[in-house]
Symmetry: C2
């Protein structure tokens, strides 16, 4: 694996997407979303996806020149139909619109329907950060997750993201899938020739598996958090699925299984303006929460303090300093030395 600067990789990925049929502005956006995930240490949602995206563009799953259409523009809400285009395009438009609406109306929602994979949800954080808005992003995906105690993949690995604006460059972000692990993490292991922990995956018979191949061979990822995790996943289904997309995750096409069909996944964005509730800054409160988490370990110091976002910030700094490594497949695709 060779190492390249994030900027060079963004330009190369953007070129590849433009060559595949995306307009320049869109190709650059998709490339930036992918590279951003790599920089935050989530290779699962990074350039690793580019070969798949290009294949889906070729086969019709991603309609390269689709134009997102605003169906509802009625503050404080809006609805956009992505018409099966690159998922990042409609998602980015929705994030910007949602944060803008929240500035004027204190709370807002934007629904995206008929969309494709939008990458890491946290990639849309800056729309909220730059306007001082708390953002929530909910996303449904095709069935890959088993219900608590179940073993067949019948629910989406639905995802949740919270963005809290700060006075620093980066907002505070929570971003997680409702499966015990994002499916991309299993595919990342597959690509690197690694096994996965047994708690990540079941095979087609429902037995715990360490073989990442099982994910796309009838296997399933367990839900996180038992029936409470299921509750959160159903909340995402009702808002991102039903309200935004008039669908539920079992009806969403899996992007690898149906290369020639748009996923028809959907997203729900919520914006809340803290200043409308007389909150000047979230930061002292976030610091108090950080202290509370830290002091929870006083009896038995753990090896690692679990507070969200620290790992991502650390990875981002490293990537800025050292660049990013890519697989040989992506290197060939990008025509890099």
């Amino acid at each position: 694996m060779n190492t390249y600067s994030p900027l060079l990789l963004t330009e190369a990925a953007s070129r590849a997407l433009e060559n595949a049929g995306l307009i320049g502005e869109h190709s650059n956006l998709v490339a930036r979303v992918l590279i951003d995930a790599d920089m935050r240490g989530h290779g699962s949602h990074g350039l690793m996806l580019l070969p798949l995206y290009l294949q889906r563009i070729r086969e019709g799953g991603i309609i390269a020149d689709a134009t997102a259409e605003w169906l509802v523009e009625s503050p404080p809400i809006a609805v956009v139909d992505a018409h099966g285009g690159p998922g990042q395009v409609a998602a980015n438009a929705a994030a910007e619109r949602c944060a803008e609406l929240a500035r004027g109306s204190a709370i807002s929602a934007v629904a995206v329907r008929n969309n494709n994979h939008i990458g890491m949800l946290a990639a849309y954080r800056m729309a909220f950060q730059k306007r001082g808005i708390i953002g929530m992003i909910l996303n449904i995906a095709g069935a890959s997750v088993a219900a608590p105690g179940g073993s067949r993949a019948t629910l989406g690995n639905n995802a949740f993201c919270l963005i809290a604006p700060t006075s620093r460059q980066e907002p505070f972000v929570i971003d997680f899938a409702t499966g015990i692990v994002a499916c991309g993490k299993i595919r990342e292991a597959l690509m690197k020739g690694n096994q996965v922990p047994t708690e990540w995956l079941m095979d087609r018979t429902g037995a715990p598996s360490t073989d990442p191949n099982d994910l796309d061979s009838g296997g399933a990822v367990p839900l996180f958090g038992g029936y409470k995790g299921l509750g959160l996943s159903i909340m995402i289904e009702l808002l991102a699925g039903v309200v935004a997309g008039h669908t539920v995750s079992p009806m969403v096409n899996r992007q690898r299984a149906h290369l020639d069909r748009p996923m028809h996944c959907s997203q729900f964005f919520i914006g809340v303006n803290p200043s409308s509730f007389a909150v000047d800054s979230l930061e002292p409160f976030i610091e108090q929460l950080h202290d509370a988490v830290r002091s929870s370990y006083e009896n038995q110091p753990p090896s690692r303090v679990y507070f969200p976002d620290q790992q991502e910030a650390f990875c981002h700094t490293l990537a800025e300093q050292n660049g990013l490594t890519i697989t040989s497949e992506v290197r060939r695709l990008l025509d890099l030395p």
Copy 2:
């Protein structure tokens, strides 16, 4: 234990609260919220709380005659200061206002600050159900929960509730605490002389405990769902704590530890109008999700299908048929035969 009709218990509890200083309308509301929890099978949030509420009224923790004050009334949001009154009063007003605002504005939020314990969040479901609005209720509580891998109680057992309206009498409801169990469930075991499962509780040293006394002796409840559960809890902190209450859970008074002080807990209500997004009915989608969960067990049928809300509906029907049993302490307090 004797058995009484829910109606008789509501009237008796209402009388006891009125005698303690609540105005008639408020005493009836608080009583109905408590009995509703008993009927749904959550005795932890039912009449079991009445002795504590009465003691807190006597000692000043609940200000019986406080008047909730609307600080912001600016559609689509509103903010109400409960001024340390009975928690249910401001919560009920907020739920009604939130659902009403969502009918007009598609999405709405109502914040409640300086409040006390509001009981089971699902108790406020009918404000949303009768108007066809999806409701979310977020609540922060005093520190009783340890961070993932930690063992000291430094975070609130924050709670989340989702209400999805249906055409039936009852909405579909998800309602859970972010601790592995609601604190009330541990106190219910204490009252009944039962032990608790080791995964519910740690003692003051951080060791797993089966003794429910440990909850109020420096013990802690683990968070559900590891770092993802922590993410959800922090989401609740930022909306229900910071935005609504200008506080975080470590600053909230625990109602048993500070009988003479209002808890200063706070809540955030969100309403979403499905019809603004062209959704006529949520029910066929909820049915699809139910089928997806059920079919997840096809490989290995479990003893129980984990789909939210079924257990509560079952308990409610039983309680209507057979009445409710109460403890001898509550029976004496209510002056019942």
